[in-house]
């Protein structure tokens, strides 16, 4: 469709919708305004007062991000079935949330935690472990914010807007509204995002139906994959890809249980029933994601090429632009403007939530533990506000100064290292048996193993004949490194987690055998079942230094 008139409509619809949504973020300051936002529980987890609908939008907005909506179709476009891993991953996450995350909600409600690292500190009595977990969480989250911004940049690129300033303006506005309103800002934005997203999905389904339906799309995609076979590509999984697919699915699902931004969304829920009902409703997002994934197939059949692609010279271009290009080419201008606004808001919501989560990690497990142990709730909230600004700035610097490819690499590494928090933050919810030093050792070993394995993975050029980059080329680690005669590979995160768990279990057995003192568990069995009408009496501060923390912020009813 192209044409000046239509691309003009595209630009203006996009700009007006995005600006309107960001203004909504500023309105969040007035929405259900608390008596005082000057505590971390008000600013950082919305006063633990979000109900069913807001929690659903917020969780959907922070876990089904723009990067997901841009990267999943791009992956399916590039490799086919393997890219569909995001769908089973997001299906098995909700049952796990139902079973496991309810426990962290309860214990956090009882003790006033706003992050997983604080929980590990109370459970295993080690502030060193908590600080290490906090740093791991922050390092894993920063590049995740950066790739969100890359998705937004892909939209700008598709519209032909070059330069980094539009990105900086959009992020700056969201950073400011988050600074003022805390988690309430992305919560409101995520509702707007889903309204736009529903529009996009209906429009996409209509376009697919008008262009010959899914049958035609899959048929021509099958032809392309048959025409240019490569390792790990095709409309179905190859026989040696299944292990890699499964480990990637399970690893990604587990990572949602410990990713700081996902925890923030869960902790902001007002009661246990809200968390459980949300677990039941979250798979609805999988349907949306699945349809988006299949748009990758549709993009193949429509002959979409990413921005910067030049087949004659063998350049693949920026794969992130496949989805925006598809909308740009197949939708009328005003409609692709809506789609771009949806991607834009979907990028800014998780960026805001993630920066809040990273800031909370810093405030509770580093600032309060090491720098200013007697910080008041107001001081904590102030530190978190400024830290969230710093985190966003860090992500922008990541993109502007380093190459975009570097952000994508870091995001890959982030997914692997965040999994190393599973023993302390997730399995720790089920048992206090682990020894704090074993957990620390396991975390460190897991991080090193994960990094080394990622370093060993080369990236193959399209067609798979030569090596395009020697290191950090993917997350599927060939089992031949272990001397096995197989073409199968495994997701690095899961291998590193397995090594991590072995270290933790063996280390705990040895340390307990040697009677090395374990930390004191400040939580009780009953804390893991507590619901909203339980008194929030057992605050960590009371237990540790007998000091009462006044006005902790959450709505005690």
């Amino acid at each position: 469709m192209g044409g000046l008139a239509s691309s003009g409509a595209e630009f203006w619809v996009f700009t007006i919708l995005l600006a309107g949504t960001i203004l909504l973020g500023f309105a969040a300051a007035q929405w259900r305004r608390p008596h005082s936002i000057h505590s971390l529980e008000e600013w950082g987890v919305g006063g633990r007062a979000f109900g069913n609908w807001v929690t659903w939008f917020l969780l959907g907005g922070s876990t089904f991000t723009a990067y997901t909506f841009v990267a999943v179709p791009a992956l399916v476009y590039g490799v086919g079935a393997m890219g569909f891993f995001a769908i089973p991953f997001s299906i098995i996450t909700p049952p796990l949330v139902f079973l496991v995350s309810t426990r962290i909600w309860s214990v956090s409600h009882r003790h006033g935690f706003v992050t997983g690292a604080e929980f590990a500190r109370a459970r295993f009595g080690s502030r060193g472990l908590a600080a290490l977990l906090a740093i791991t969480g922050i390092v894993a989250t920063m590049p995740y914010i950066a790739v969100q911004l890359l998705s937004l940049q892909a939209v700008f690129k598709t519209m032909g807007i070059s330069g980094e300033w539009p990105l900086a303006v959009a992020l700056g506005l969201v950073a400011f509204s988050t600074f003022r309103s805390g988690l309430r800002a992305p919560a409101l934005l995520s509702i707007a995002k889903d309204v736009l997203l529903i529009w996009v999905i209906i429009a996409a389904l209509l376009v697919v139906a008008m262009s010959g339906g899914w049958g035609a799309a899959f048929h021509s995609a099958a032809l392309r994959f048959a025409h240019s076979p490569g390792p790990g590509t095709g409309l179905l999984l190859g026989s040696s890809d299944q292990l890699s697919y499964l480990t990637l699915v399970v690893g990604s699902a587990l990572s949602i249980l410990v990713y700081p931004h996902a925890l923030t969304g869960i902790l902001a829920a007002k009661d246990l029933a809200t968390v459980r009902r949300n677990a039941a409703a979250l798979p609805v997002y999988c349907l949306a994601l699945g349809l988006m994934g299949m748009l990758g197939v549709f993009a193949i059949s429509m002959g979409i090429l990413p921005v910067g692609a030049n087949l004659a010279k063998g350049q693949i271009g920026d794969l992130n632009t496949v989805t925006p290009q598809l909308f740009h080419v197949t939708f009328p201008g005003w409609c692709s403007g809506i789609a771009f606004a949806a991607i834009g808001v979907a990028a800014l919501v998780p960026a805001a939530v993630m920066s809040i989560s990273a800031a909370n990690l810093f405030t509770r497990s580093i600032y309060r533990e090491y720098l200013h142990p007697r910080a008041t709730p107001a001081q904590e909230a102030r530190v978190s506000r400024y830290t969230s600004l710093a985190v966003k700035l860090g992500a922008v610097v990541c993109i502007f100064l380093l190459s975009p490819q570097f952000s994508v690499d870091l995001q890959l590494i982030g997914g692997v290292i965040v999994l190393q928090m599973i023993p302390a933050v997730c399995i720790g919810l089920l048992t206090p048996w682990f020894h704090r030093w074993a957990l620390t050792a396991g975390l460190l070993v897991g991080l090193v193993v994960g990094m080394v394995q990622l370093y060993q993975i080369p990236q193959l050029s399209p067609g798979g004949r030569s090596i395009a980059r020697a290191h950090f080329g993917g997350s599927s680690w060939p089992l031949t490194h272990l001397g096995l005669h197989t073409s199968a590979s495994v997701y690095v995160g899961m291998l590193a987690l397995a090594v991590n768990l072995v270290v933790v279990v063996v280390g705990t057995a040895v340390l307990r055998g040697l009677r090395v003192p374990a930390g004191t568990d400040a939580t009780k069995q009953a804390d893991y079942e507590a619901d909203v009408d339980d008194p929030m009496i057992n605050r960590l501060d009371n237990l540790l230094d007998g000091e009462s923390l006044q006005g902790a912020g959450a709505h005690v009813r």
Partner: protein
């Protein structure tokens, strides 16, 4: 719901959702020191936590790649691989909703 919930855990039912079976001390040995939930046991019938085992269905169904890694039968032109996994999402909604309804306390 609250105190009743706690009491339920103290009894150590046979489900695994709310920690029973994982975290109640039988498997990992924390029950003795910290299993004070039982002391708060309030009278009242609780729905069985055995319903939580149903959640294994939406966890396992999308992991059966050998079963669904095929083209036929197709639905609206989509290979089985794709629509089966979308179907799993609907299955997950149904199962989790059912488990939620069966295990929720009186409010």
């Amino acid at each position: 719901v609250g105190y009743d919930d706690i009491g339920r855990n103290g009894r150590g039912d046979d489900g695994f959702g709310n920690g029973d079976g994982f975290g109640d001390g039988r498997g990992f040995g924390n029950g003795d020191r910290f299993g004070d939930g039982g002391t708060r046991l309030l009278p009242g019938r609780r729905p069985s936590q055995a319903w939580n085992w149903l959640l294994a269905i939406p966890i396992i169904a999308p992991l059966l790649t050998p079963l669904y890694n095929r083209v036929d039968p197709q639905l609206w032109g989509m290979p089985f691989f794709y629509w089966y996994q979308l179907g799993c999402a609907l299955l997950a909604v149904a199962v989790i909703t059912a488990v939620y309804r069966m295990t929720r306390g009186r409010s």
